[in-house]
């Protein structure tokens, strides 16, 4: 028995560990460090319809136990991803989850339609944190109806299961999740980054050229855990969890909160071997915890009562 194998819509994973979108490019760089086939899956970088250069630099800034990024969706466009990146990745025995982004619903739909037909793409991940240019730049992922509409539209054209990536920058993550579940999403991935900013005291200017950016890394882990805990008890579709994972213990914490698999982002930058290391460490940790199979960990800390907190 493979104690780490996990079954999710469209995804038969040999283990539940995958690099998070945008933190692993299209895998080429990490392939120099280890065999990508050891991974459960790979979430590739956000892909848009046309090639994009992204934001001016600086694009990253460090924060206490975290980092801000404002890459700005730099990517070669869906057709080149299909022509160049996915075939290259096909040499590895690893399912690909394609991260789909856009500025309009039409763009998402078109990217999803095309990329979901690639043979090694086993699922889509809709990055709904992007601003909707037709709706005054309000992110798709902050209005339940808009996110639901987008989900439905993408589901209609996708050849593979669709996971929707939740933005944590919302008042009620459970409302969002339920709307997206009802719209037919096959799964959720969460959380994307929190909006943040840093200012350089010497120059008086924001450090990021884009001024604001997305906060990731260990700093956001408690927020991710809380949101996964809440959402996983409110929906019945599976959740791939992410946000600050660095160790096998962190992975178990996400499973206890309700995740069925996890993704690792920022930690890849700190240690390129972090994913294979976690995969290596998990069996011994399961032994220590007296758990046969990692799936048994999902939702272990669930509790039906609702929680209340007052910032005090």
């Amino acid at each position: 028995m493979n104690r780490l194998a996990v079954e999710l819509p469209g995804l038969s994973l040999k283990n539940p560990i995958m690099p998070a979108s945008g933190c692993f490019g299209f895998g080429r760089e990490y392939a120099a460090y280890y065999d990508l086939s050891v991974l459960g899956a790979i979430m590739i970088k956000a892909t848009t319809l046309e090639a994009r250069f992204g934001n001016p630099t600086p694009r990253v800034a460090e924060t206490p136990s975290g980092m801000l990024n404002a890459i700005g969706l730099q990517n070669p466009g869906v057709d080149r991803v299909i022509a160049e990146e996915l075939p290259w990745l096909a040499q590895y025995d690893v399912p690909i989850i394609a991260n789909v982004a856009g500025s309009t619903m039409e763009e998402y739909v078109e990217v999803a339609k095309r990329i979901s037909k690639a043979p090694n793409v086993h699922a889509l991940e809709l990055n709904i944190s992007c601003p909707n240019v037709k709706k005054g730049g309000i992110a798709f992922g902050t209005v339940p109806e808009v996110a639901a509409e987008l989900t439905r539209a993408v589901k209609e054209v996708s050849d593979v299961p669709v996971y929707v990536k939740l933005s944590p920058n919302v008042t009620n993550i459970v409302h969002m999740a339920k709307a997206i579940e009802q719209a037919g999403a096959d799964g959720l991935t969460m959380i994307n980054t929190l909006l943040g900013m840093r200012i350089d005291v010497k120059t008086t200017k924001p450090i990021l050229a884009n001024r604001t950016g997305g906060l990731s890394g260990p700093a956001i882990k408690p927020i991710a855990i809380r949101m996964i805990y809440e959402v996983s008890q409110a929906v019945s579709i599976p959740i791939i969890g992410m946000g600050g994972i660095e160790t096998a213990e962190d992975v178990i914490e996400f499973f206890y909160a309700g995740a069925r698999a996890v993704a690792i982002g920022t930690a890849n930058f700190i240690d390129p071997y972090v994913c294979p290391n976690i995969i290596r460490d998990l069996p011994a940790l399961l032994d220590e915890l007296g758990v046969d199979h990692i799936s048994e960990c999902t939702g272990r800390s669930w509790n039906n009562g609702s929680t209340v907190h007052c910032g005090a």
């Binding site: 090639a51 250069f53 630099t57 990253v60 460090e62 980092m67 730099q74 930058f269 700190i270 390129p272």
Partner: protein
Amino acid sequence: MKDMMTVVSNRPIAHRIYELVLSGSLVQHMHIPGQFVHVKVGATPLLRRPLSLCDINQKANECTIIYRVEGAGTTLLSQKARGETVDVLGPLGNGFSVTAAKRGERALLVGGGIGVPPLFELAKQLSQNGVFVTTVLGFQTKHVAFYDEKFASFGEMYVATVDGSYGMKGFVTDVIRANDLSFDVLYACGPKPMLRALANDFPHQQVYLSLEERMGCGIGACFACVCRVPHSETAYKKVCSDGPVFRAGEVLL
């Protein structure tokens, strides 16, 4: 490659400038001047810090890094004592093309401030190849100057300081003009305005420039460190993996 390297020595050599000697088997993979290592200084700060290789000593299994104490990372690094370890990822990036300058040719090495260190290993290798090395070092002021004598051992060495407290008052470009320095290949590392000035002054010559950019991964995966390429809206190069050294004109400065 990633490994724990051991601090052999770590000492101030100028105001807020430290010379760090590290030992470890990773040195056997270090060959090219202008490459850098990505250093995790401790549990905090979170991200690695890119630092250029300044001197590579394969025989002793040692490499030297020179850094300026800026913020949290370099402050912590400055507190590392002999025998302690640091977590090093590298060598990374594409360094200077040593072979661009042939035996008997003249190389002009231009360093500004904390851009000086990678030129040292470059000067060493060029000299070994029989290239004539002239160095121009620019600093803010005398008490942050370093390695001037070491560079002088390879050939002519000029210094410029902004306040005139050491060498010529002014910028490296003033030194080059004043001394009418000529060269077959120019190699430079330093602040962007300096690199821009050099690229402008010598549009028809072989000029290699080492760039800096804030980094995430340091290996080409995160797209934090891109720069634009002429005549394209979407083309780019990554400072960490395509650079940090580029031919002048290859990327927009």
